[in-house]
C-alpha cells in the first residue's frame, strides 16, 4: 500500500483544510453555542434551525448557493473583488469558507449541549463570586464542558475531512489547491485506478474508525475526579 505523491498532496491538503476549519469553527461556533444555550429570545429557534440546515441539505445545494455567492456577481465575490483579493471559487480559501458553513452544526451542537447540561447554577455561582462573563467562561464554563469542546473539535475535523459534495461544487479538483482526499478517490475511480482508490479509501476507513473510537471514549460519562487547575 503506497501513496502516490498526488495522494500525499491530497492528504496534506485535507488535513490543512480540516485543521483550519476546526480552529475557525471553535472560535465562531462557541459564541453561537453560548448564546443558543442561554437565551430565551424568540430568535433562538430560527438561529438554531439555520445552524442545523447543513445536517439535512444535500451538500450540492449548499455548494451551489455558495458558488453563486462567491461568483463575480455574488455578494462574497463582489466583496473580495472590491478588496482587490482573488476570487474565492475554486480556491483553498473558498473551500475553507464553504466547509465552515457545512460543518457548523457539528461544532455548535455538542458545545451547546454540554453548556445546557451544566444548567445555570455554575454561572450563577460564579457571578456571586464576582466573576464577570468572560471570566466565568474561561474559569467555569470551559473546564466544566470541555468534553463537549473535544467532541465538537473532533466532529468538526472529521466531518470536514469527509466532505465531498460541497468541495466538488466550490473547489473542483485542482491538485494542491482544492483536491482533497475524497475528490482524489473519486478521480482514481473515474480513471479505473482501483488500487490507488483502495489505498486512500482504506486510509479513510481507518481514520474514521479511530476518530469515532476516540470520540466515544471522550463521551463516556466523566464522573471521575478532575485534575486541579
Amino acid at each position: 500500500m503506497v501513496f502516490s505523491s498526488d495522494d500525499i498532496t491530497a492528504i496534506k491538503l485535507t488535513l490543512m483544510l480540516a485543521g483550519t476549519v476546526t480552529v475557525i469553527l471553535l472560535i465562531v461556533g462557541t459564541p453561537i453555542a453560548l448564546w443558543l444555550a442561554s437565551t430565551h429570545s424568540k430568535w433562538k429557534g430560527l438561529v438554531g434551525a439555520l445552524v442545523a440546515m447543513p445536517l439535512v441539505l444535500p451538500p450540492s445545494v449548499l455548494g451551489f448557493y455558495l458558488l453563486i455567492a462567491m461568483g463575480p456577481q455574488g455578494p462574497l465575490g463582489m466583496l473580495t473583488s472590491s478588496l482587490g483579493l482573488p476570487g474565492l471559487a475554486f480556491s483553498f480559501s473558498g473551500l475553507v469558507i464553504a466547509s465552515v458553513f457545512y460543518s457548523l452544526p457539528f461544532v455548535v451542537q455538542p458545545i451547546q449541549n454540554a453548556i445546557e447540561s451544566l444548567g445555570s447554577r455554575p454561572m450563577e455561582v460564579a457571578s456571586t463570586l464576582r466573576a464577570g462573563r468572560i471570566d466565568t467562561f474561561f474559569t467555569v464554563i470551559l473546564p466544566l464542558s470541555k468534553a463537549g469542546f473535544y467532541t465538537a473539535a473532533v466532529l468538526g475535523f472529521a466531518h470536514t475531512v469527509g466532505e465531498f459534495g460541497v468541495v466538488l461544487m466550490i473547489g473542483g479538483n485542482i491538485p494542491g489547491e482544492t483536491q482533497v482526499i475524497s475528490v482524489k478517490i473519486y478521480e482514481h475511480v473515474e480513471s479505473v485506478n482501483y488500487a490507488q482508490a483502495h489505498t486512500l479509501s482504506l486510509t479513510m476507513v481507518l481514520f474514521s474508525f479511530l476518530t469515532l473510537a476516540l470520540l466515544y471514549s471522550i463521551q463516556k460519562p466523566n464522573s471521575k475526579k478532575r485534575k486541579p487547575l
Binding site: 447554577r121 457571578s127 456571586t128 464577570g132 473546564p143 475526579k225 486541579p228
Partner: protein
C-alpha cells in the same frame, strides 16, 4: 444618603406566581425570610442578589442602589456572598481552589482571611479534597467559607440546611451561630424551618403567597398569635437572654432577658453566655390567684393582651404580657371561659419548662 439597611420593593409577575413585596431589613444581625414552599422567599432572595432580572422595583443597600428604574447592578458587582440550597461548589476544583476562586476576586481590605474562614467552618482537613469526595454537610461548610472569602457586605443564604438530613443540620447549625456571633456581617437567611429561625434570627420576614405577611424583631414575631399558624403544636415564644447566675446544687441557671428572670435547667453554660430560650405555649398555664405552693419555678404576674381560637376548637391561644415581654399560652377553651381569660385580665403565668436552645 447613607442608611444602614437593606430595603427592597419588588414586583415580579409570572404565569402562575406573583411576588409583591416591600421589606426593610437592618444591615445587622440575621434577618430570616420565612415561609412555606411556594411563598416566594427564594425568589425574593434571588431578586435581591440580582439573579432574577425579571423583577421590577427598587433594591437599596446602605444607600447604594442595586436596582431602580434606571439601574440594574449586575450580580458580580453587588457586594454580596451567596450560599445556595444545594451543592454549589465548582466540581472541577478542590475545596481549596474553590476558596481561592473567591479570594482572587474579592475586593480589597479582607475582613476575614482564609485561615480565619477555614477555622470558623472547621474545614482545614477537607481542603485538598474534591467536592464529590465531601459529604453534603462538608460541602455546605466549604461553600459558606467561600461565600465569606469574597468579603461580602451582605451574606445571602438560601435554605443552606434544607438539603441535609437532621444529623447534618445539627452539625452545621453551631457553625452558623459562630458565624453570626464572630462576624459583624448582616445575613439574609431564607428558611422554612422554625427551629433555624428560633436559633439564629434577630429579625423575621414572614412570606405567604408572594407577599409579606409580617416582619419585625424575632421576639415580636414569635409571640404574635398570627405566627402560630406556622408553628402549630410547637407554638412558642423565643427570647434572647444572658446567663446571670448558676445554682450548682440543683443544676439550674438563671437567664435574664430585659429584666425577666427565668430559671432553666443548666446545660453547662457559663455566667455571661448569650443564650436563647424557648417557651412553648403548651407549657404555660394561667392561674387567677398567686399560687403559694407549686412545683413550678417560673411564675410571673401577667396580663392577657390577646386571645385567639387555636386550630382545634377545644383550645385557645392567649398572648400574655409579663412586663414588656410577651409569651403565648395554650389553654383549653373551657378554662378560658371559666377563668374569664379575655384581653386585660390579670393572671399569673406559670411556665412549666423553659428550654435553652443555644
Amino acid at each position: 444618603m447613607k442608611s444602614d439597611k437593606l430595603s427592597a420593593r419588588l414586583l415580579l409577575k409570572r404565569a402562575d406566581f406573583e411576588l409583591d413585596v416591600d421589606i426593610i431589613a437592618p444591615a445587622d444581625g440575621v434577618t430570616a425570610i420565612f415561609g412555606s414552599s411556594g411563598s416566594g422567599k427564594t425568589t425574593l432572595l434571588r431578586c435581591i442578589a440580582g439573579l432574577e432580572r425579571a423583577a421590577v422595583g427598587n433594591v437599596n443597600f446602605n444607600g447604594q442602589d442595586w436596582q431602580s428604574e434606571t439601574t440594574f447592578l449586575p450580580v458580580h458587582k453587588r457586594p454580596i456572598g451567596y450560599v445556595f440550597q444545594e451543592a454549589s461548589l465548582f466540581e472541577h476544583m478542590s475545596a481549596e481552589a474553590n476558596l481561592q476562586y473567591a479570594i482572587k476576586r474579592a475586593g480589597k481590605d479582607p475582613v476575614i482571611n482564609k485561615q480565619q474562614a477555614v477555622e470558623l467552618l472547621d474545614i482545614g482537613a477537607l481542603l485538598k479534597r474534591y467536592p464529590e469526595e465531601l459529604s453534603g454537610g462538608e460541602r455546605q461548610r466549604v461553600a459558606i467559607a467561600r461565600a465569606l472569602l469574597v468579603q461580602p457586605e451582605l451574606l445571602l443564604m438560601d435554605e443552606p440546611l434544607a438539603s441535609l438530613d437532621a444529623p447534618r443540620k445539627a452539625e452545621i447549625l453551631p457553625y452558623l451561630e459562630r458565624l453570626k456571633s464572630e462576624l459583624s456581617l448582616p445575613i439574609l437567611y431564607v428558611t422554612h424551618a422554625i427551629e433555624e429561625i428560633a436559633r439564629l434570627a434577630d429579625n423575621v420576614v414572614v412570606m405567604k403567597s408572594g407577599e409579606v405577611l409580617m416582619q419585625g424583631a424575632a421576639e415580636d414575631v414569635f409571640s404574635s398569635l398570627e405566627f402560630s399558624q406556622f408553628q402549630g403544636e410547637d407554638t412558642a415564644a423565643v427570647f434572647k437572654g444572658k446567663v446571670i447566675d448558676k445554682d450548682a446544687r440543683f443544676h439550674l441557671c438563671t437567664v435574664e432577658s430585659e429584666g425577666l428572670l427565668l430559671q432553666c435547667r443548666d446545660m453547662s453554660y457559663a455566667i455571661g453566655d448569650d443564650v436563647r430560650v424557648r417557651i412553648l405555649a403548651r407549657d404555660v398555664s394561667l392561674i387567677i390567684d398567686h399560687p403559694s405552693k407549686s412545683s413550678i419555678l417560673n411564675c410571673f404576674e401577667a396580663q392577657v393582651s390577646e386571645v385567639q381560637q387555636d386550630r382545634h376548637p377545644g383550645s385557645v391561644l392567649a398572648k400574655i404580657d409579663i412586663g414588656n415581654k410577651h409569651i403565648v399560652a395554650r389553654i383549653s377553651a373551657k378554662s378560658a371561659h371559666e377563668l374569664a381569660i379575655t384581653p386585660g385580665a390579670n393572671v399569673w403565668a406559670q411556665i412549666k419548662s423553659v428550654a435553652v436552645i443555644q
